[in-house]
């Protein structure tokens, strides 16, 4: 597969067409109908949550949020191979992966409402918090890969970066260290065409992003990231290389950020209706739904019912988050060091003294 779709040939790996027809039976991943359906449901949940979060934000009930809308199939595919012990090292636009890894929506809400507590991920093993500085997380993934190899564990690291992130020096260093150390890391570029307002065409002059793996002697592939089956197949093969041969792999998943960069961005300023329409036709949910419908695994009525159910679930978790309560002053100080140094204690104490004075006013 990696040979046939060598990115030097600039060939996009896909399995299913825009209408959900399987065009490359040969590459159809090993997956049951049941699992496919469940994956679709999970993607539906992620999308529902995403869209509702954006509207919560418009209501002023949550702060900045970077939507995952349109990119659901990437997480959908990765989720098929993700094990409990595997690591996920995300950037900030990875809602689907967070959920797949066991983060609760409530935690995600807490985080974007402005509580560090949301990054605790109580039930998600080996999931790292949001990493905002672009591409830096890739090096963390490589370091975790070293630990896995060092302790001869049976684990894989999945890490994510945007198309814009491939320009940062850290992208280069992370892939290079991984190539030299031969560690089990799957690097996923979510190429959603934009870094905020900047089109990927201007980020670099390479023929595609997957081909950058040549610089490190690594296998890589450009895959249709809106094609759940193609993503699943690639995830399976990449995971195998990483797990069995400790071979790092680079995956470029082509997709489209249907929403804004974050809730404080307005994409109509820098992209056309035509372009949006073009990608609308390649929407990952639409395609998957057509596929499932054609196999009579799913219909509109079921969709409607599940949608209503998910709506309630999202609301429930949102309300829980909204009622999370006060952020104690002490929490500003508490988690910096193993033991709080005197200088922090003094500052905390002085501030409490001031607060008492203020109350007395």
């Amino acid at each position: 597969m990696f040979k046939e779709y060598d990115p030097l040939k600039n060939k996009l790996f896909s399995v299913m067409d825009k209408d959900g027809n399987i065009t490359h039976e040969k590459w159809m991943p090993d997956i049951t109908d049941e699992k496919s359906l469940q994956a679709y449901k999970n993607m539906m949940f992620a999308r529902k949550a995403d869209l509702m979060t954006v509207s919560y934000q418009r209501q002023g009930r949550i702060y900045t949020y970077p939507p995952n809308y349109g990119q659901e199939a990437i997480a959908g595919g990765i989720a098929q191979v993700l094990r409990e012990d595997d690591w996920v090292v995300p950037a900030y636009r990875e809602l689907g992966v967070w959920l797949a890894k066991g983060a609760t929506l409530k935690e995600v809400f807490l985080y974007f409402m402005g509580y560090e507590d949301g990054s605790r991920f109580e039930n998600a093993k080996h999931l790292l918090p949001v990493s905002v500085p672009i591409a830096s997380q890739l090096l963390h993934a490589t370091g975790i890969g070293y630990e896995i190899k060092y302790n001869q564990k049976d684990e894989v690291v999945y890490t994510f970066v945007g198309d814009g992130g491939t320009s940062e020096g850290d992208f280069h260093e992370a892939l290079n260290f991984a190539s030299v150390w031969k560690v089990p890391v799957v690097f996923v570029i979510q190429n959603n065409q934009y870094a905020i307002s900047f089109n990927v065409k201007n980020q670099t002059s390479s023929r595609n992003l997957a081909v950058k793996a040549v610089a490190y002697g690594l296998k890589s592939i450009q895959v249709d990231g809106n094609d759940f089956f193609a993503m699943t197949k690639v995830a399976q093969e990449a995971a195998k290389l990483a797990r069995e041969k400790q071979e790092p792999v680079l995956v470029e998943a082509l997709t489209y950020r249907k929403g804004a960069h974050t809730t404080s961005d307005d994409p109509s300023k820098y992209r056309t209706k035509e372009e949006e329409q073009e990608w609308e036709e390649k929407d990952p949910m639409k395609r998957m739904k057509s596929y499932l419908a054609s196999k009579e695994l799913w219909d509109d009525k079921q969709e409607e019912e599940l949608d209503a159910q998910y709506k309630k679930e999202v609301e429930r978790q949102f309300e829980e988050a909204e009622n999370y309560g006060e952020y104690p002053l002490e929490d500003v100080f508490k988690y910096h060091y193993d033991e709080m140094p005197d200088v922090l204690k003094k500052q905390l104490y002085a501030h409490e003294k001031y607060l008492k004075w203020k109350e007395g006013q």
Partner: protein
Amino acid sequence: MTLVKAINNALDIKLNENKDVVIYGEDVGYEGGVFRVTQGLQEKYGAQRVFDSPLAESGIVGTAVGMAVAGMKPVIEMQFSGFAYPGFNHIISHVSRMRNRSRGKYTSSMVIRMPYGGGIKALEHHSESMEAIYGHIPGLKVVMPSTPHDAKGLLISAIESQDPVIYMEPKRIYRAVKQEVSEDKFNVQIGKANVVQQGKDVTVVSYGAMMRDTQKALALAKKAGISVELIDLRTIFPLDVDTIASSIKKTGRIVTVHEAPNSFGVASEINSIALEESFLHLEAPPKRVTGFDTIFPLPQGEHHYMPTPEKIYYEIEKTVKF
């Protein structure tokens, strides 16, 4: 004019005046920046002069060093001061050093604009105030305006300066303050503090976005009958030692206000100056009203962190009563 508009206006004036000036960074071109600071400039001056760069801060600062050496005047943007660090190596190793290294043959004269500071309910890395780090690096100048007027005049001076200038923009008040500002070109001098208000009981020093909170504290002080001399630093390096020292000689007391962490911050340096220049005039221990030595909390904890007018007033009162 808002502060955003004043900066935009200064850039416009200098782009118009000097063909060597170019502006680039992430999203500053077509979109006009995530805060719309550079809005309209690409349209007016073309994509050779105002443009989006690939997403890489070391690349942005490093190429600017080359442009400056070759005689251009790059005015580059770090989208947030918290994202300047991938470019830090070029700032500390080259921007600040090219002139001295080449014994004046080449300069790295450029302006590095970066919005800084908290209070905007933002994600991690979007609220920091790390001016002291730049102040400690020999070869840089560090400018932090607090009003639209100063923002414009200081930016024009920064672009005209032959020295590299770190220009930190108080994003919290980008649109919060409006002021009559002339559309014409004018300069505000780098390295000169502004005595905003004369007073005799205590000197209060601040800069950037915290000037607003400090001024609110002054209203409280006035009510309490305390006469405050208020100094807006405008420039972090080189500090205007004379203005600070002569004010202390008059008031005998000093309170410095900033949102950056306390330890190794600007207020420590002000205190050192107070000691060295006006020890015998000090009637109370100089006071720092600053952020904590902690990471800037996410939005729900933000109110704990930012010094408020009440807290500033509280410390002024304590200092005066000492």
